[in-house]
Amino acid sequence: MMAEKNQVQNIEKPLPGEQILIIRHLHKSFGNNHVLVDFNLELKKGESVVVLGKSGSGKSVLIKCIIGLMKPDQGSIEMFGKNIPDINEEELDKIRAKVGFLFQSNALYDSMTVRENIEFPLRRHWIRVSQAEVNKMVLESLEDVGLAHTIDMMPAELSGGMRKRIALARTLILRPEIILYDEPTTGLDLITGKEIIELMIEIQKKYKTSSLIISHDMNCVRMAGNRVAILTEGRCYALGTYEQLQLNTDPLVKQFFE
């Protein structure tokens, strides 16, 4: 799989060193609303970190800064040896080809079939592959999420959990090295949410991706995260394993575990 990926996408090898994503002194404000104030976090290769925070605490802002959809006011976000806020569109596109993003609202294109949705990133990143290969990759991605039979359906015909899976299949098509999840279980029922978390863990194992998961769902935090970062008041307030944080007596940390 690795060999094929390198051949198809012509991706450079990640730079040596453990950390695959380094966020330093990140600031972001909207007028007087200081959403991120000196946020720091590191993601190591192969690990998955959950960023836990209340609704409106700036989790989506953080993840959008990482993928370059928003520009931070200050601070650096280093991925694949580049500082995301500094680079131009072209370089940004190259990095985005290696980073999957699962949107909170799935962001499936309503006007396209499941197949076209999944093909979209592959075609748009100008990766020159034959139609046969595209078909094979689409099918493989769909099989990874267990929904091969929906290939010719429209997103509107699918349930919430299925749409989440299709969105995941769409991020998988480029074989990303990092996947950013924006509240993957929000809006799903408990059981479907758990299924999605299990799927995320499975995919992490299969493709050896690193994950940054943004959530306020404690199931997700417990099951999917190697480490947990608590985002409060715009900062990374506490960082540790689930077990460590569970024993933490700080009231701002404790409220999440009650």
């Binding site: 959008k64 993928i67 370059g68 959809l69 569109e89 596109d93 985005r96 080809a97 980073v99 993003f101 949107f103 909170q104 609202s105 799935n106 962001a107 499936l108 294109y109 309503d110 006007s111 979209f120 990133p121 748009r124 990143h125 100008w126």
Partner: protein
Amino acid sequence: MSLATNLKIFFNEAGNLSRFTGRFFKQWFKPRYETAELGRQCFVIGYKSLPLIGLTAFILGLVLTIQLRPSLIDYGVESQLPAIVGIADVREIGPVITALIFAGKIGSSIGAELGSMNVTEQIDAMEVSGTNPFKYLVVTRVLAATFMLPVLVMMGIAISLYGSYLGVNIHGVTSFHLFWKQVFDSLSFTDVLPAFIKSYFFGFAVGMIGCYKGYNSSKGTEGVGRSANSAVVLSSVMIFVIDLLVVQVTDVLGLN
């Protein structure tokens, strides 16, 4: 709301729309070109509006003729009916009515489509998928609307003249050949050209305003409805404003 806040909102909106339009002109000729999507949009925007525009145009020509006849009989110029309807249709009624129908159908659908894409993060998803969403969504739709409306206007005028032919023949008898001869004899190049040119501006305005409203819709589902609605209202008003400006220009140029 006080007058001052209303004025502030107006100028704010006008400024943002101008900036959005400027962005279009900065991006539209730069590669990469979204030709496949442009073709698809031309089909969606042009071809799919044709039945509606054809139907309304036919009725318009018919009704206009029926209503004009009594006045023309009073003046004793009933025989000039095809000529007068032809001029009115080509110079003003055809382009403006077609553009208004176009604004109702296409302006609202662009506003709602882009609005819902914005709300459900589809525009962001395009951006992270190696696509410039402004080029892929806005430039293609604006160009398609600009190119397609003049074609629709010309077709609409032709269809409404068929309606007019029917109207002429309800009471009198005019041969098909004579009808068209009278219409074309009364028309000159200076009647057709300004009508054709202003149709481009109408199409551009409808596409631009629809995209602007959709692309900048507020989050939440009610934002989608609001952007569709305000796209239609604003582009309808813009059609009349452009019409007013064009008639001044052609007047100065002696084309009237």
